[in-house]
Every structure is written in C-alpha cells, then in structure tokens.
C-alpha cells in the first residue's frame, strides 16, 4: 500500500485551520499561544463566521496575533482592547468581536477597561492568556505572578508584603452581572485542549445569543520567562499554577458555579 492510497479525504483526521496564515508563529517552542490561536480560528472556521468576526490583539507576546489569524483585526494600545471591542460591537452588533490579551495587558494596565467592559455586559469575548509573567519584555513580574515565584523584577520571588498579591481577575469579573460565562482552561494536554475548545465554542454561542460578556482564561506556560524547558514548564504549571488558578467553569449561563 502506497502512502498516496492513504492520503484521501475520507482518511483525514486533522488539518490546520484555513484561518491560520502561513506565517510561522513568533512564539517560543512549547508556548501555549499557538495552540490557543489555533483553537479560536478552528471555532471561527467551523461556525462559518470568518466574514463577520473581528479580533483585537493586545500588547505583549501576542501583539502580532493579527499576523497569524486570517480575519480582520485591530491592534490595541496596551490594556485597551476591551474599549476597542466595546465600540466595534456597539457599531456592528451583528458581528462577532473578541479580544485576545495577556495577564499584564488585561489585569494590570487594562484593569479598568476589563472590569467596565464586563460590567456593562458588552456582548464580546475576552480571551485571557495567563502565564504569570511578562513574556515579551523579558520575564518581569505580572499581576498574576504567584507568591514566591521569581521574575526579573522580583528576582528573589514575589514577596506579597512588598509587591502585593496576585490578582484572580476571572473570579473577580465573574461576580459582575454583565458577565454571562467565565471559565478557566489550559491547553497543555490533548484532553485540556479539547475542553478549551468547548469553552471557546460556548463563548461564541453566548455572543450569538447576545447574552453578555464571555471571559475565557487560559492558564498557560512561559518556558522562556520561567527559565524551564517546555516539558518542565508544563509540570511546574500543574504543580504551582493550577492550585492557585484552579481549572474549570466559574460562571455558566449567568450563574456562579458552586463547588
């Protein structure tokens, strides 16, 4: 049997989403961003909404997200993506609008825009990639850096007495009436990837039904910033990040999930 006999449409089990461009990702090997980009574009493709979807890139490692996603996109000033999304959705209520932001962008400099967009119940999706560090600028402390976790601006570990506490912003925005769906996912195993994709699908469904804000957090890794190999970074994430940022749905259908 020749390999050409195998490459047939009926045998196709996976292909790259046509909504990812051919440009190689600028992300470090092992980084979760690439997987999250892929999942979002897969969902947009499967829903057939490429022509009516506009994304907003942040400042941070994913500042160039628009180079990889084959949809109309805007690049926002640091932290301001939810403000852009607010205007886009209100002017084009029948289009799908999402932001894609990191922890420094969303939970430090952009905290006001994040909270107020959520509190107004803007009918948008906020995708939030939390790796507990400023990746692009070289590994500085983030609003989500864990207590005791080292970073270039807290080289001896985050001392909460001096530097304050990490911010669980997803739990915070889940309290707001405007937020309809809040969840925390990861993409470090095939099983988690499948769950994350379901959460993304749910978020687009919420927007379709004009129910309010969806807030989808991905706890992710930063092997470069954490100074770990990709495999060790994922293990460290499981051991340290997940206990502090537990995975799972936080608010579904407008109701807080009780555990």
């Amino acid at each position: 049997m020749d390999f050409k006999d195998i490459i047939k449409p009926e045998n196709l089990v996976y292909r790259r989403s046509s909504l990812l461009t051919d440009k190689p990702f600028s992300y470090c090997p092992g980084c979760g961003h690439g997987t999250i980009h892929r999942l979002i574009m897969e969902v947009v493709e499967e829903l057939g909404i490429q022509e009516i979807t506009v994304g907003i890139a942040p400042v941070g490692c994913s500042v160039l997200a628009y180079e990889f996603m084959n949809i109309d996109m805007q690049q926002a000033a640091h932290g301001r993506a939810p403000a852009l999304a607010t205007a886009l959705k209100r002017l084009m209520p029948d289009k799908y609008i999402f932001t894609y932001q990191g922890d420094g962008d969303l939970a430090a400099i952009g905290t006001a825009e994040t909270i107020h967009a959520c509190n107004r119940g803007e009918n948008i999706i906020i995708f939030f990639v939390n790796n507990g560090i400023y990746g692009m600028t070289g590994g500085q402390m983030a609003p989500t850096t864990l207590p005791g976790m080292p970073a270039s601006t807290c080289p001896f570990g985050r001392d909460v007495n001096i530097m304050g506490n990490p911010l669980k912003i997803t739990e915070l925005v889940a309290q707001l009436p405007g937020v309809h769906f809040a969840t925390r996912q990861s993409v470090h195993t095939p099983r988690n990837v499948r769950r994350a994709k379901k959460a993304i699908q749910m978020a687009f469904e919420v927007q379709k039904n004009k129910k309010g804000t969806s807030f989808v957090e991905f706890v992710s890794n930063c092997n470069s910033g954490w100074k770990l190999s990709p495999v060790a970074a994922n293990e460290w994430m499981e051991q340290h990040m997940f206990p502090f940022y537990p995975l799972g749905d936080i608010k579904v259908d407008g109701n807080l999930v009780t555990k």
Binding site: A57, D72, Q75, A76, A83, L84, A87, L88, K95, A112
Partner: protein
C-alpha cells in the same frame, strides 16, 4: 436658511455631530465641556440616526473606543477639557499612527495640572506639536464663535477622511460655555455599513472572501518600514500645508501693525482693532483658523507690509513661536496674553501693542 437656535458652544458642537452623521461619541465628564455628553444623551440620537453615545469609564477608555470605531471605518467623536485631553494623548498618537478618522474637541481650561476651570489657550503646544509620542500632527481647527463650534464639525469630518488623520477642534471655556445664535446646517444621514465599506476599504468590518484581511495597527517592528510609514505621514502633513490652511483677515489691507490670534482671543482682538483705529493706529488682525497647518505663508507676506506683530493668546506664549518662525526676524514679534484662566481685555491688548511693538 437653516434652523436658528440660541445655544451654548458645547451644545452646538453636540447638535452638529448628530446632524453631520457622526457614527459614535465616547466621552467622560469634565468641566467645562460636560454639556457635550449631556446634550447628546438628552437627544437620544441612538434612537434616530443610530449614532452610538456612551459615557466611558475614563478618557483613556473613550479615546480607545474611538480607535476601535475609526478602525472599522466609522467616524467617532470624543471631547474633553485640558487634563482629560492629556489622558487621551496616548490614544491620539495610536490613532494618528494607525491613520484613523477622528474628531476630538478640547474645551481648554487653565493649567498645568488640574489648573482651574476657566478659559485658557495654554494647550496650543499639545495640540499642534504632538502631545502624544512620535512624529505625528493633528489637523487643528480653532473656532471663535458658537456658530463655528457647529460648522467646524463638517470641516473636521471632511479632513478626518481626506487625510485619515485625527482632527482636533481646539476651543476654550469661553466658546464652549457662552450662548450665541447659531444657524444649524441641515442633517446629513449617517452612512450605511455598505457606504462605510466603500469609503473605507481598509476598515475591519469583517474579512470578505474577495479581499485580504484588513489590519489596523500602528506597529512595524522593521525600522526601515516604520521610517517609510512616517515619511508617508509627513507627506500628508505637507499636503495639509499646501491645500488646507485656513485663516481670516480683519483690516489688514492698510495695516501697519498686526495682531495674530485664534479662538476667543481673536474675538477680543477684533475689538482691540476697533479701539486702535479710533486712535488712528492702523492695526489689523490675522485670525488663524487652522493652527496646524499654520498660516505661515500669509504671515510671511504680511511681514513685508507691517512694522511689527503681536501674538495674542491666553497663555505664556505658545503660538508666538510659530509666528516668529513664519516672520523669520523680518519684523519684531512679541507675545501678550493673560494665562491660568484669566481673560485679557481689548484695552490690555492695545496697551501691550503700544508698549511692546509701537513703543
């Protein structure tokens, strides 16, 4: 003749935005310009023209909402007063870099810092020389009446799309707060989404199958490409200087001395010209309507005619630098103006002319 109304400058601006077919207004309260948002919310244009009106959580959020709207080809408007405009400056720089249409109204008050809430003209540098970071310029219009607070919205709309560049209307607390008779222009319908897409094929309204994706960004990590982009911006600013300088002359035909002013100072200077002429002093006034591009060429011509110029502005002297650059030392140029929210009188202007220029 259009509809006549007695209105505050801020209200006239807001009404003109609705009538001009503006797509969205995003703002945040600050004295002395809060009537803009108040008037818009009282008129509920979202129920008539479909114009979006939203009170943002901050000036920073408001200007970034404008970025989003402009990036989708819509015409957004924001307004504020000096301290709030400072907060918007980051966003204005991004909007200039990304080449988006925007109208931004500054109803200037005394500064620096929180300053006070009285009229001033001390934001000239910020409006014309940058304010935000990077090599960019705004197209800056300076109204000197409530009528112009309305009419300049149409000029601003035209310029915002002609140049894909933010347009600032640099007003002040006098023009914003005082009431005058206004003749309102007839309403112009808002564009449909199809018309938006036709006028702005670069806009992010959703990627159609028959075109490449549209990206709105001010980022290019390749310095050689970024340099080309800035050269492209420079060419637009040069075109503004060639094609869209606006100014008004009063009694300049036989003038031996010249006042140079804009906005409410120009109104005060008009009276000073009358007072001077009563005394036999041949005084004229050049009122700059665009502060960028500045009427430098005309000032250079007038410097061959007059014996001296007095730049009158409610600041320590900001526009006077542009007057000096235009005149290039051919005649004496001095500055006069009260500042910090204090308004000079026509008599004070005339006295300053006598002591600083006529001597």
């Amino acid at each position: 003749m259009g509809e006549l109304r007695l209105m505050k400058g801020n209200e006239a601006f807001a009404e003109a935005c609705i009538r001009a077919g503006v797509d969205a207004y995003f703002g945040y309260p600050i004295t002395p310009q809060s009537e803009v948002l108040e008037y818009l919310m009282s008129q509920k244009p979202y129920e008539t023209t479909g114009m979006v009106v939203l009170q943002a959580e901050s000036e920073v959020a408001a200007i970034n909402m404008c970025y989003g709207a402009g990036g989708a080809g819509f015409l957004p408007v924001t307004s504020s007063s000096s301290p709030g405009i400072s907060l918007k400056m980051e966003g204005v720089s991004y909007i200039a870099g990304a080449e988006l249409p925007l109208i931004i109204l500054n109803v200037v008050r005394g500064g620096p810092g929180l300053g006070d809430i009285q009229p001033a003209q001390s934001d000239y540098f910020q409006a014309t020389k940058g304010g935000g970071h990077g090599d960019y310029r705004l197209y800056v219009l300076a109204p000197s009446s409530v009528q112009e607070m309305a009419d300049f919205v149409l000029i601003a709309k035209e310029m915002a799309f002609k140049y894909r560049n933010p347009v600032m209307i640099l007003s002040d607390g006098i023009i914003g707060q005082m009431m005058e008779k206004v003749e309102l222009f007839d309403p112009i319908p808002r564009r449909t989404i199809q018309e938006v897409e036709k006028q702005a094929p670069w806009a992010t309204t959703g990627k159609k199958a028959n075109r490449e994706r549209n990206i709105i960004t001010s980022l290019d990590l390749d310095p050689l490409k970024q340099e080309q982009h800035v050269y492209h911006l420079r060419d637009k600013y040069s075109q503004m200087e060639r094609e869209d300088v606006r100014f008004e002359e009063i009694s300049t035909e036989d003038a031996e001395y010249l006042l140079v002013a804009y906005g409410s100072s120009a109104r005060i200077c008009q009276k000073a010209v009358d007072l001077a002429r009563e005394e036999g002093i041949k005084l004229g006034l050049l009122r700059a309507i665009t502060l960028f591009p500045f009427p430098s060429k005309r000032l250079a011509e007038l410097s061959n005619q007059v014996k001296g110029m007095l730049a009158v502005e409610m600041s320590l002297g900001q526009m006077v630098e542009d007057v000096k650059l235009a005149v290039n030392c051919r005649v004496p140029v001095e500055h006069y103006g009260r500042t910090g929210g204090v308004i000079h009188s026509p008599v004070e202007v005339l006295e300053a002319l006598k002591s600083k220029i006529i001597k």
